[in-house]
Every structure is written in structure tokens, then in C-alpha cells.
């Protein structure tokens, strides 16, 4: 093991903080392929206001819902959603199989800001034109952070809401068997 502190023993300098930190892990397309390789995807209309209200969703909630099919047969759904915590915003993909069971849960994008605002973004455009070669992506901005544990409570709540969305709407509108 090798550990080298980058300051002398004693007080460690606490330098000024950057405004924000962001990492992109996967694109929507990569998540689709990870969950349902070789499938055809079709994006459905976003949940309407009544559905959002019934699910007690936060303002701006607009998950992107895709069906995944192979040769016409439904393989499942891929839902891309965003949750906002006190200082972080997480975009994630939830894959459900044809029976509605969770088959994959991946974080696509993590963004945090201390002192700035991390609002629910009008993010349907967020991934447009974004590729793995994007500067925010792989290898360019690697930061290993050791600090107080991040809570993923908001993400857990977001997943619960999507599972209710499945029960309330996807299951009946897109039955897996006729």
C-alpha cells in the first residue's frame, strides 16, 4: 500500500472549492443496450399531470419511458428519471422486464453543487449530442472523493415512484401478453 498526503503533517490545507462536480456514467442509449441488448426502443408519451399528481411527484417530474421490443414481442421497459437532493441531481435508468420486475438500475449522470442550485433540469435535451467522448465523461475528470456518505434516499424514492407508475399505467396500457 502507498498513501501519500499532499501536505506536510499537521494541518491540511483546505483549498477553495469548485462550484460543481459532475460525472456521466452512461448515456441513455448505453443503458438501453445494457438492459435489452439488440432491442428496438420506442419512447412513449410522458406521464400526464393527473398521473404525476396521483403519484405525488415533484414539480418538473418527467420520466422518459421507452418500450423495448424484439421482433414485436415486448421485452420490458426502460425508464429514465431524475431525482434532486439538497445538493445533488441524479439521472438514472430503471429497467423492468415484461413482468414488471426490476432488471437493472444504473446511475447515468451525477451532478452536485455546493452553494449553487441543483434544480430539476428541463433535461429532455440533456443528453442530446452527448457521447462517451464528451469532456465530462470518461477519464477526463476523474475525482475520487472520500467523505461523508451520500444518501441515496431520493433515488430510492424515485424508483418507488416509477414502480407505482408501472402499476398504475404501463402495466395496463402495454400488457405483456394479449
Amino acid at each position: 500500500m502507498h498513501a501519500r498526503w499532499l501536505t506536510a503533517a499537521g494541518a491540511l490545507a483546505s483549498a477553495a472549492a469548485p462550484a460543481a462536480y459532475a460525472t456521466q456514467y452512461m448515456s441513455v442509449e448505453e443503458a438501453q443496450q445494457e438492459a435489452f441488448a439488440q432491442a428496438q426502443f420506442e419512447e412513449l408519451a410522458p406521464p400526464d399531470a393527473a398521473t404525476a399528481a396521483a403519484l405525488d411527484a415533484p414539480v418538473g417530474w418527467a420520466p422518459r419511458v421507452f418500450t423495448a421490443r424484439s421482433g414485436g414481442a415486448l421485452r420490458g421497459w426502460l425508464i429514465v428519471d431524475q431525482v434532486v437532493g439538497k445538493s445533488e441531481r441524479i439521472t438514472y435508468a430503471l429497467a423492468l422486464d415484461a413482468q414488471g420486475a426490476v432488471s437493472l438500475l444504473e446511475v447515468l449522470d451525477y451532478r452536485e453543487s455546493h452553494g449553487g442550485e441543483v434544480r430539476l433540469a428541463p433535461w429532455r435535451k440533456q443528453f442530446v449530442g452527448k457521447t462517451v467522448a464528451d469532456p465530462v465523461a470518461l477519464g477526463k475528470d476523474i475525482r475520487n472523493i472520500s467523505g461523508a456518505t451520500l444518501s441515496c434516499r431520493h433515488l430510492t424514492e424515485g424508483v418507488q415512484r416509477l414502480l407505482k407508475l408501472y402499476d398504475a399505467s404501463l402495466k395496463t396500457k402495454h400488457p405483456s401478453s394479449p
Binding site: G10, A11, S146
Partner: protein
């Protein structure tokens, strides 16, 4: 050229991030899937909450019964006992009943009432991965299992042939490979320093903070550890780094230094007034 692959999933109550280099993309994806599954498995085995975890099975049996657990649970309990022995019980996984009483954990299904005097030393670790409670107690490995899960993931990715690896479970991180990795230490909700605080190569670091008052106590003396403190420990294995952060938070300087020296570990402490201070170890 082989890609750098990064993935993050919510596990262990936090975000677990993994990065691998040196594998073909398909192999890297398969290895990461396996490593995330291993983290999930460690969580399922050692959860205080899940009714079918190894710990819940121990709690649901009568004290004195021999319960066979997974080899991984047995190993975590073995390490926990070693750290308890080295620190005069400052770190003690028999803390379950105290955390239940403090409202930090739910009451488990259990036929017995824990003995307030019971300690980690009352967890007998027998051959064949069996566990026996010499006195009634509830085990909570929340202070050590996250680090252990990180170790398991890194070791698995090594076996799969990754040449540079970093696994970070909400600040408990370990890296492997020839390249040194910069690590930014963050205390509490504080801002991220703009430059790395230290660099690691083939090493782990863990950071723990005391949050609510009344929850964090010295395992043997029950003296309360003040909220708002933070400690980081660098060690060869993340499970050791994770456990020693609690020792640094709860113990006097001599006990901390002795435990750090035993494992060849290094530490820093943070409080709101002084900022980060590096600790001397006795070595």
C-alpha cells in the same frame, strides 16, 4: 485501446461507483456486473434489517445456539473482533442493542433481550463458519461491512484482469493498479477541495463522520462521541480503514496510534474549528 469504464449503482445505502481499465469493453461490463452483484450479496448477508440476512438469523436464534453463516460474514466478524481487541473495545459490533435503543436501528426479531454488558468478545467464531453468542447481543456491522464490500469488489475485478481499478462506496474507496490516484477528502456536507488531499496506490481510504448526537459512542466506555467530527483512515484494505475511522473518532490518541500502527494505517481528523489535522501514528 481498451476503454475506461465507470458505472454507479445505489447499493449499501449510498452510491457505489466502480471504474476499471485494461479490459475489453464486453469483459469490463461483465466484470462490473459481477462486482456490483458481489456488493449486493455482502449487503444481503450482513444487513441488520433484512429478515433473511446472516445477522438476522443469529439474532432470531437462542443465544448459545451455533449458527452457520457465510464465510464472508465470518470473516467480517473475525476482523471486527480483532479491531475490538486492539482498541480496548472502542470499536464494538455488539453495538446493535444500543443503536436500537437510540432509535437508529429497528428492533430485530429475537427471542432474547440483549445483555448491556455483552461485547464483541462474546461472539464466538467457531470452525465451519459457525457463530455462537456467549451472551445475548445484537450485532451491527454497519461500521465495517461497506469497506469489506469494497474490498470484495476490487479483488473480484483484479481476478477478472482489470489493470487499474477504483471502487468507491460513498467515500469508502480502494484503488488498485500501477497509477497513483488522487483522493479529495470532504468533511460532512462541506465543499469539495479543489486539489486532491492525498494520493493512493494499491490502497484504501475510508471517511466517517459523526452525525446526530447520542448515536455514536465508545464501544466499551459508552462515552458519547460529539457530532460534527470526521475521520479519514488510509490502509491496505478498505475494511480496516472503515473500522479504524470509528476508532479514531471514539478513542484517545494513544489507542488510535497503536491501532493505526498495527495495520500500517494513516489517519486525519476533521473538526469544524481546526479543519483537517493529520494524526501521528506510533510507528
Amino acid at each position: 485501446m481498451n476503454p475506461v469504464l465507470r458505472r454507479a449503482r445505489p447499493l449499501l445505502g449510498t452510491l457505489v461507483e466502480m471504474r476499471v481499465e485494461g479490459l475489453r469493453e464486453a469483459d469490463a461490463r461483465a466484470a462490473l456486473t459481477q462486482a456490483f452483484a458481489e456488493v449486493g450479496r455482502v449487503h444481503a448477508l450482513m444487513s441488520f434489517h433484512a429478515p433473511d440476512s446472516d445477522l438476522s438469523r443469529v439474532h432470531a436464534a437462542h443465544a448459545g445456539a451455533e449458527i452457520e453463516v457465510d464465510a464472508r460474514t465470518h470473516e467480517v466478524l473475525t476482523i471486527a473482533r480483532l479491531v475490538a481487541d486492539l482498541t480496548g473495545g472502542a470499536f464494538d459490533v455488539a453495538v446493535g442493542a444500543a443503536l436500537v435503543n437510540a432509535g437508529a436501528l429497528p428492533r430485530p426479531r429475537s427471542p432474547f433481550t440483549p445483555d448491556p454488558a455483552a461485547r464483541a468478545g462474546d461472539i464466538e467464531l467457531l470452525a465451519g463458519n459457525r457463530v455462537r453468542l456467549r451472551r445475548p447481543l445484537w450485532i451491527d456491522v454497519g461500521g465495517i461491512a461497506k469497506g469489506y464490500a469494497v474490498d470484495r469488489a476490487v479483488e473480484l475485478l483484479q481476478v477478472r484482469g482489470a489493470t487499474q481499478i477504483c471502487v468507491n462506496a460513498g467515500g469508502d474507496l480502494r484503488c488498485f493498479g500501477p497509477r497513483a490516484e488522487g483522493v479529495h477528502l470532504r468533511a460532512g456536507d462541506g465543499a469539495l477541495p479543489s486539489r486532491p488531499t492525498l494520493e493512493l496506490r494499491d490502497a484504501a481510504i475510508a471517511t466517517s463522520a459523526t452525525q446526530a448526537a447520542g448515536v455514536h459512542r465508545h464501544g466499551a466506555t459508552q462515552a458519547e462521541v460529539a457530532p460534527g467530527l470526521c475521520a479519514s483512515v488510509a490502509a491496505a484494505r478498505c475494511v480496516i480503514a472503515d473500522a479504524l475511522t470509528k476508532v479514531v473518532l471514539a478513542s484517545d490518541a494513544r489507542t488510535s496510534a497503536r491501532a493505526l500502527a498495527h495495520f500500517g494505517a494513516q489517519a486525519a481528523r476533521h473538526d469544524p474549528r481546526s479543519g483537517w489535522i493529520r494524526l501521528e501514528n506510533a510507528a
